[in-house]
């Protein structure tokens, strides 16, 4: 929470606007005209500059589009009220008091406003990301329909390229990464005993960048020439030449999503460092907090690199610069180096928070302390550091310097060690535990088993000779889905089920939850396991057509994938129904020790009436009289009785 700042003068709360003045108040009435205004400003400046410089034509579609993909979102953000506070602050006017009217949600409408409450923002994040998850899933269904039989049936090649590009981009930038940010947003301040995030207004703004990025990427289907079609990796020079304007929608969409995750990461880091409850040392933080701490470091350090790479491609595309144009002195391979220097760490951005969730769920639901707590935290840090040294394992066949291959192969295999440590620690935690097979636990166990398969195929791919054979085949598709679907997605589901009672105050339907798990688990394996086989046989990825000898297996995969897609309906139905009609949830249905479960469900508007005192480790399940934290009344007594571990 922002501390009292003596150099701010506060005005009284604003009276509710009436009549036409409502157009000036932050909100959806202000959005349309502000957006139009910013559109005009963007177009005006562009035309003016081109006219002054004597460039022909003055009105150039690709340039205007690029400028507007920046200007229009700013208009939207200004309209909805993302900048109001800072504008008044900058002008030296009295700022609106921190009256916390932006806190809490009283009706569903409050979720469609700028809201500074981390709990509201967390739910905004999760609902938005699930929307894009469903959208991206539907694109995948279309792809599988096309791939069910050899030959071309429903879409042409260019459309197919657009389908898999938008599918992957949405899943990665609009689902996995921000869904973890959403869970973190909701849970982290509660877990560390803080009333909110360190920068609540920045938090609100980071959320609203997301729908912008998502609709930009989806909207590229409407752009002339179709959606961006050079894959989520957007390799230059392919992406910077010979591409429809839709590819700029990808470049800019990544910028908005990237800005959002950098801002959130900053917020997480500052919150975790400066706002922990008394007694909550780093070595007493729950592993989810540790995981988000390391992930946020990765985001802050690595994400600017993808921002850079997409700027370069966009400039090459729109301004005809020569970053990747060999003939004019550019360096084509540079793109892949810069891109993977972000995107390999990014696979850990997409996985480490999931490790955190799995640790929470597995420890609570097997009623045992997590095995090797410190090693779990240290292995996260090891992954953080090593993650920056392996990027070129994506480039074994790209024509890079051959001497780089073996070092990158070795580091890639070394990074499997800290990952393996985590797997063994989860297994050891389960060992001899009193395991409760609730839905979150099922997903966590599904995660551990599927992630092992994905990790193993990763080691295969890291071996240069095997990679040369399987690069750009369905083997890679199998690998990424075992780590991202079986890994990240399963932990996201685990997290959503686990904290659902806390977030909504209601219990989800356990039977539907279990049904969802089993449908997903079986559908997932039937869909993706055969892809290993296809890949080794040599079926290339990212193609709409293939030789007839792969037909049977592809038909099988497509049918399985439709079943997998349908399992999402069970999930969505369960969430919607339980949120509205589910039975009221207890404050602590899982009998967990961490702080978020020690307050009511949903938590009070400022999380804690008084900041708790942390007195022990977070995972002492089955240890008699162990306590993680005590609240005001008990404090004096407890402090004397419980030795600080």
């Amino acid at each position: 929470m922002t501390a009292v700042t003596h150099d701010e003068v506060h005005a009284g709360p604003a009276p509710p606007p009436t009549g036409w003045r409502r157009l000036l108040a932050p909100g959806w009435l202000r959005v349309p005209w502000m957006t139009a205004l910013f559109f005009g400003i963007g177009a005006g400046i562009t035309v003016l500059v081109r006219w002054l410089e004597g460039w022909d034509p003055i009105w150039k579609g690709s340039v205007i589009t690029t400028v507007e993909l920046t200007a229009v979102p700013f208009g939207f953000l200004a309209g909805i009220g993302g900048f109001d506070y800072w504008m008044r602050y900058a002008a030296g006017s009295p700022t609106r008091p921190e009256d916390h009217s932006g806190h809490g949600a009283r009706s569903w409408r409050d979720y469609f406003r700028i809201n500074t409450d981390h709990k509201v923002i967390g739910i905004q994040y999760l609902v938005t990301t699930i929307f894009f998850f469903v959208a991206a899933g539907l694109l995948a269904m279309l792809m599988r329909a096309e791939l069910a039989r050899p030959g071309m049936q429903f879409v042409d090649n260019q459309t197919f390229n657009g389908l898999f590009s938008v599918h992957a981009a949405l899943m990665i930038f609009l689902f996995v990464i921000p869904a973890f940010a959403g869970i973190g947003n909701y849970v982290i301040p509660l877990m560390i005993g803080a009333p909110d995030m360190a920068f609540p207004r920045l938090n609100a703004l980071s959320f609203w960048l997301l729908p912008i990025a998502g609709f930009m990427m989806l909207g590229s289907f409407l752009a002339p020439g179709g959606a961006f079609a050079s894959g989520w990796t957007g390799y230059a020079p392919l992406a910077s030449t010979h591409q429809p304007i839709g590819s700029v929608f990808f470049n800019m969409g990544v910028q908005w999503a990237g800005a959002s995750s950098i801002m959130t990461a900053l917020n997480f880091l500052v919150t975790i460092i400066t706002m922990r409850a008394p007694g909550m040392s780093f070595w007493r933080m729950p592993l989810l907090v540790w995981a988000n701490f390391t992930t946020s470091l990765l985001v802050v350090i690595a994400t600017p690199f993808i921002a850079g790479s997409q700027f370069f491609v966009m400039f090459d595309h729109v301004m005809h610069t020569h970053f990747f144009d060999y003939q004019a002195g550019g360096y084509p391979l540079g793109y892949q180096h810069i891109f993977w220097f972000y995107s390999h760490p990014a696979v850990y951005i997409m996985m480490l928070p999931g490790f955190g969730i799995a640790s929470e769920v597995i420890s609570v639901m097997s009623r045992k302390p997590i095995f090797g707590y410190r090693l779990m935290a240290l292995s996260l840090l090891a992954i953080l550091v090593l993650g920056f040294s392996v990027w070129a394992h994506h480039m074994f066949v790209a024509g890079m310097a051959p001497w780089l291959r073996v070092p990158m192969m070795v580091t890639s295999m070394v990074i499997a060690v800290p990952t393996g440590i985590k797997v063994f620690s989860w297994l050891a935690t389960l060992w001899d535990g009193r395991i409760h097979f609730d839905t979150p636990m099922l997903f966590a166990l599904g995660f551990v088993s599927m992630f092992v398969i994905g990790g193993l195929s990763g080691i295969y791919l890291a071996a240069v000779p095997i990679d040369i054979h399987t690069s750009d085949t369905y083997f890679v598709v199998a690998h990424i889905h075992y780590v991202l679907f079986g890994g990240s997605l399963f932990t996201i589901f685990a997290g959503i089920y686990f904290w659902f009672p806390k977030m909504t105050g209601r219990m989800y339907d356990e039977r539907l939850g279990k049904l969802h798990f089993w449908l997903t688990f079986i559908g997932f394996n039937l869909t993706f396991f055969p892809m290993h086989w296809l890949g080794i046989q040599g079926m290339p990825r990212r193609v709409a057509d293939y030789v007839p000898r792969f037909a049977d297996l592809n038909m099988f995969i497509s049918l399985a994938s439709f079943g997998l897609g349908a399992s999402t309906l069970v999930f969505v139905y369960n969430m919607v129904k339980s949120w509205r009609f589910g039975p009221a949830a207890a404050a602590n249905p899982w009998r967990s020790l961490t702080l978020e479960w020690q307050v009511s469900s949903p938590p009070p508007i400022f999380n804690f009436d008084e900041i708790p005192q942390v007195v022990g480790n977070p995972y002492e399940y089955g240890v008699p009289d162990a306590r993680h934290a005590v609240f005001n009344g008990d404090r004096q007594v407890e402090l004397e009785e419980v030795p600080t571990r």
């Binding site: 150099d7 602050y89 900058a90 690199f305 400039f315 970053f323 020690q598 508007i605 400022f606 008990d634």
Partner: protein, 198 residues
């Protein structure tokens, strides 16, 4: 142990401060870390073009205005000193010193930016001429964009200083833009050295 209470409090409990570092300062330093990485990606591109692709620097027939840019460097560096001066002034409660320092810093920064734009129009090559032009414009342009952001922050601080904000013991609104401004300065020295001199 469970607190079942509904929230009646109109105000949140004061968060426990678990670190000696101020949240805003830490936030700014982390932001600068990611800015450094953004510059890093542009310098990587510079490296690829200049070292890996063996591009001549500058390409034949072009010259870089090392001298004018040198003067510009001096302007920008001196603005760091005026910024420091402004902050020291308000720490002693000297409002006039704060106002003068901030105004001067802002004007020096603006001069830098305008000089750079002027320089662009006289160079005789463009971002689309060749890869050298691309890197030159993109690195200096990226830095220019940061000067612009810095100027925006400075403008806010300056306006507020004239409207009576900030005191000897409440001046983070000057301090934080100041940190950013020093970062922009240091970054320019790196850009100037690598692009113009080396």
């Amino acid at each position: 142990m469970t607190v079942q209470a509904e929230a009646h409090a109109a105000h949140p409990p004061e968060a426990h401060q678990s670190s000696r570092v101020d949240a805003r300062t830490l936030g700014m330093f982390l932001f600068i870390a990611s800015e450094v990485m953004l510059f890093g990606s542009f310098f990587t591109a510079y490296f690829f073009v200049r070292v890996s692709a063996h591009t001549h620097w500058p390409t034949a027939g072009h010259e870089l205005p090392v001298f004018v840019a040198g003067i510009n460097t001096i302007i920008l560096v001196s603005s760091s000193f005026t910024m420091h001066w402004a902050l020291q002034a308000i720490k002693r409660g000297n409002r006039a010193g704060l106002q003068a320092g901030l105004t001067l810093t802002f004007l020096l920064g603006l001069t830098f930016l305008l000089t750079q734009i002027r320089e662009y129009s006289r160079l005789g090559f463009a971002p689309y001429t060749d890869a050298f032009g691309t890197i030159f414009y993109c690195l200096t342009g990226l830095h220019g964009a940061h000067v612009f952001v810095g100027l925006t922050l400075l403008l806010a601080a300056t306006i507020r200083s004239y409207r009576g904000h900030y005191t000897a013991d409440a001046h983070w609104g000057v301090e934080i833009p100041g940190i950013y401004w020093h970062f922009v300065d240091v970054m320019w020295i790196v850009v100037y050295t690598t692009v113009y001199i080396l």
